[in-house]
């Protein structure tokens, strides 16, 4: 698939068929994630593939009750849990190298978008769930202390045609030239 088509046509998918995503497909997604860049190549991202039915139920129960992805997560044949070591990225000589202590969030974002684009190419739908009780999930997944669960990504074959997707701001609305508020394209 053309890159631009993947970027423009990827949507958050919250309704899956009963197709069981294969380990080979998931391996393709993780191979893609592997090539995302990271802070000084520290590669802080970790991914937990959840297949166990009981565990999928418990993780989904830790989502906010308002999360619109609950139903598809519960029915999914796999979740990919995006985790990260929290003290590798953004560190220099044992301390934070900048004012930010959450570079792992940025690096995980780089990797997760790579997964979602590659899934789209494989005909798989994804939705990124962040609204959950992260400590419950961290405990369920036996994460060591310095690691964090950040997102859950239910995955499956889309049951419906992808829609237009939610409206986006025009490029001119989030783009500036040289200084904030100075239009780049006028």
């Amino acid at each position: 698939m053309e890159l631009t088509q993947a970027i423009l046509k990827r949507r958050s998918i919250r309704k899956f068929t009963d197709y069981v995503v294969t380990d080979a497909e998931i391996a393709e997604l993780l191979e893609a994630a592997r090539w995302a860049p990271s802070w000084a190549n520290t590669q802080c991202c970790e991914f937990i593939v959840v297949r166990d039915r009981g565990l999928i139920e418990k993780i989904t129960a830790a989502y906010s009750e308002f999360n619109p992805a609950r139903k598809c997560s519960l029915a999914a044949s796999a979740l990919i849990i995006g985790c990260a070591h929290s003290k590798k990225a953004g560190v220099k000589e044992g301390g934070w190298a900048t004012k930010f202590s959450s570079w792992y969030m940025f690096d995980l974002g780089l990797a997760v978008q790579t997964i979602c684009l590659r899934a789209h190419e494989l005909g798989l739908g994804t939705v990124i769930v962040g609204l959950m009780n992260h400590d419950i999930c961290k405990n369920l997944l036996d994460l060591p202390e310095d690691y964090e669960v950040v997102v859950s990504i239910p995955i499956g074959k889309p049951a419906v045609e992808a829609k237009e997707g939610p409206a986006r701001r025009a490029v001119a609305e989030f783009t500036h030239l040289d200084r904030f508020g100075n239009p780049f394209m006028s």
Copy 2:
């Protein structure tokens, strides 16, 4: 370009030719970023295209003296500064919806990887610079209080063939099945 080729072949590029990146090319990158997903579609990312020569010099001066991207940044015809509103993503009813207060870092990561992949497709090289004095840059770019500068992305035509890139962990090293430490692929 095929998506998978872009994912596998994108590299951090720190040596550019003297080609002047066009506004039309930069607009393509920002259009791509526009389609990255975001927390509840809050679209917190903002991008400042820096063309002013004096400003490029001042921003580059705010990088760490150890940053290997200083030279290419100074010579670049454009920097794209990745910024974000810090209090849109991850918020619910006026407060943080989860234990994390830096969802803007994650959402910016989603958008920045999209930019870097699209740039690669256009024959442009990028490098993501995070090691800098962010508050100096925030001030130089007139960012309002609730916004943060996170990364600078010098951009240009690669002056050299892309190399293999730094070694990556094998997929099995960062992937787990159901629980941390349990191999997904054995």
